[in-house]
Structures are given as C-alpha cells and as structure tokens.
C-alpha cells in the first residue's frame, strides 16, 4: 500500500484531503486501537481520539510526520496505539472513585527495594532490550533477531554477555553482604560456569 497523501493540503486543513485521509486510514487506526483495547464501544471513541489528536492545534502532530524517516502507516500505528493507551489510562483514572482504590495502592511506597546501586551502564541499552524481549515479552530468539534486524546468533551472544555481567555483579554484591554479616561468601565460579545458550 502506498502512502500517497497530499500532506501539505492535509496540514492546511483541506476538507477533501482530510476526508480522503480518514477513509483511507480509518481501517488501520481501528486495527491499531484494537491491539490495545478490545471493547468495541471504546474502540470507536478511541479512534475518534486519534483523529482528533492528529488534527488539533492546526495539525500540530501531523506536521511532525516526516516521510523521509518512516512510512505513514508505521507512524500512524504508533500514534494510534500511544493515543489509545494514554486515553484509556486517563479514562480509568477518571472513572475510578477514590473509595474503590485499594489502600495499598495509595500508600506511599517506602524505598525498601534492594540497596544495590548499579554502576552506570552495567548493561548496555541493547543488552537490556534483548533481555526485556526474551524474558518480559517471552519472545523467541528468532523474533528478537527479526525485530532488531540482527542475526539470531548475535542475540544469543548479547544475552550471554549480559548474563555474565549480571552474574559477576550480583556474586560480588552477595559476597559483600556475606562479609558484612560474617557469612561465607558465595562461590562465583559455580554461578558463572553453569551458563548455557
């Protein structure tokens, strides 16, 4: 599918171009919004929110689209999903009475997480992203490779290097904790040699 829309006319607010744009991309935007929310009734309102965001303030958001950087379909999908998610969040916040919120959710969270202070760049952004996709999104190595446009073996290698860093860091951290409490330190070797691909 081509993205041949007269963007200049669209951003000028030309009614005919806008109508054509809406008719052409409504299906894509509905599809993108349905990926975020399943409720049919809400989909219609969220689609309207997306179109409204595109044209409000003299097409301010639409003017940021650069055809040299990405296709219109790609850009619109990202805009639509982002808008739908933000709108959903706002509506849920507005619709939830304070009495319905569990007390624990309102409590100020004491910063009682681990006292570990990571050195800067313990993991590179690429390493963090690979681990996020593998473990948080439960994606296959091949999917991660496709997403990052790299070889699957590079994904495995990135994972391996990241895990080495984490094992080393946490082993040292546990060792310091053990020393502080008078406990025998953890044997780092056992941790590091057990890694497989």
């Amino acid at each position: 599918m081509t993205d041949a829309i007269d963007l200049a006319a669209l951003c000028r607010g030309d009614k005919g171009t806008w109508d054509g744009f809406v008719r052409r991309y409504a299906r894509l935007i509905v599809s993108a919004v349905r990926g975020v929310v399943r409720d049919g009734g809400e989909v219609e309102d969220l689609v309207q929110d997306v179109f409204l965001r595109l044209c409000k303030d003299g097409f301010r958001l639409m003017r940021t689209y650069d055809p040299e950087r990405a296709g219109l379909s790609t850009w619109l999908t990202i805009v639509a999903r982002s808008t739908a998610r933000d709108s959903m969040r706002r509506r849920q916040l507005a619709a939830t009475p304070i009495e319905a919120v569990p007390e624990a959710a309102l409590a100020v969270e004491p910063k009682m997480r681990e006292r570990v202070k990571f050195p800067d760049r313990l993991l590179s952004p690429r390493q963090k992203l690979v681990l996020t996709m593998l473990y948080d999104h439960d994606l296959e190595v091949s999917d991660v490779a496709t997403f990052l446009r790299i070889d699957p073996q590079t994904v495995r290698s990135t994972h391996h290097k990241a895990m080495l860093k984490l094992r080393t860091y946490f082993a040292e951290e546990d060792s310091r904790d053990g020393d502080a409490k008078g406990v025998r330190p953890v044997n780092n070797k056992n941790v590091e040699t057990g890694h497989g691909r």
Binding site: T64, Y65, P125, K128, H195
Partner: protein, 173 residues
C-alpha cells in the same frame, strides 16, 4: 523463549529489574518519528555494529524501560507490511471526517439590510418634533408678551436705560 535459556537466568534478570526500577530516572521518550524510523529499520546503517548510534541507543534505552512500546513497534511493522483486516463502520469514518468542516468560500458574511422607510420615518419625526416644539414655544412667548404689555417685548430688545447710567468717568467702578 522456548526454554532456550535457563530459569536461573530469568531469575537473575528479574532481580536486576527489581533493583533497576528503583534506580535513576527513566530514559527520555523519543518522538514518534524516531520510533517509526526505528521500527522500519531506517536508523540502522549498513554496518552491523550500530550501537554507537546515539539515536538507537536512546530508543533502545527507552524501549527497555517501557516494554509495552515494543509491542507498538511490532504492530507498526506488521501494519506497514500488510493490508488491514479490521472492519470499519461507516459511522466511524463520518464522525472523524466531521472534525474538519468545509470552509465557506465566496459567501459574504450576513449583514441585515435596513429598510429605507425607517430612516425616512426617523427624519420625519425629528422634523415634526422640531416644528411642534417651535410653534409651542412661539405661542408661549407671544401670550406672555401680550399679557405683560409692550414694555416686556421692549425689554427683550433694548437694555434698561439705567444699566450703563453710572459708568461715567467719575464712578468708582
């Protein structure tokens, strides 16, 4: 993941996630154009080691902090590659199209025309009021003048004879 990696690795990652969440501020959010360009692979050059590219680093830092955006980029990539399957109701389209209204080209702004008889009536009423007022005033003056005799009208015309009688060179004024 398909069991390719050990559960211990996942536990280590979760431990890191738990600690990192309390860490420094999250990565700045890239604009939509950058995310779209990343999704289409336009930021990646011909060289395989692209981690030196600051824009890619920034986006990947953001994506690792906001994993839900990864799903957006997946969806965007699929959308660019395929036709859309979702049915679209006509009312959704019409509702969105109504956000922009047709500009009124060649139509002059409405300006109600005043009928000419209204201006004539106003002028005529002013003239009539003037004439009536003048005639009433004249009648009153004439009746007053007749009642007081000729001296009153004479006083209006001539100053009293004693008014300047003392203004000679010997007066103290």
């Amino acid at each position: 993941m398909g069991g390719e990696f050990r559960p211990a690795d996942q536990a280590l990652w979760q431990r890191w996630r738990h600690c990192d969440a309390a860490g420094p501020a999250s990565a700045p959010e890239p604009d939509m154009a950058s995310l779209a360009a990343y999704s289409e692979g336009r930021l990646f050059g011909a060289v395989s080691d692209t981690e030196s590219d600051s824009e890619i680093i920034e986006i990947e830092e953001f994506l690792s902090a906001r994993p839900e955006i990864v799903a957006d980029l997946w969806a965007a990539r699929e959308a660019a590659a395929s036709e859309f399957r979702s049915p679209t109701h006509e009312d959704i389209i019409l509702r969105a199209q109504s956000l922009i209204v047709e500009p009124q080209v060649g139509v002059e702004p409405f300006r109600p025309r005043r009928a000419p008889w209204r201006a004539i009536a106003v002028a005529a009423s002013l003239v009539a009021a003037g004439v009536v007022g003048f005639s009433i005033g004249m009648d009153d003056w004439l009746s007053l003048a007749n009642a007081a005799g000729p001296s009153l009208s004479q006083e209006f015309m001539d100053p009293p004879g004693t008014m300047l009688a003392n203004f000679d060179e010997d007066s103290n004024l």
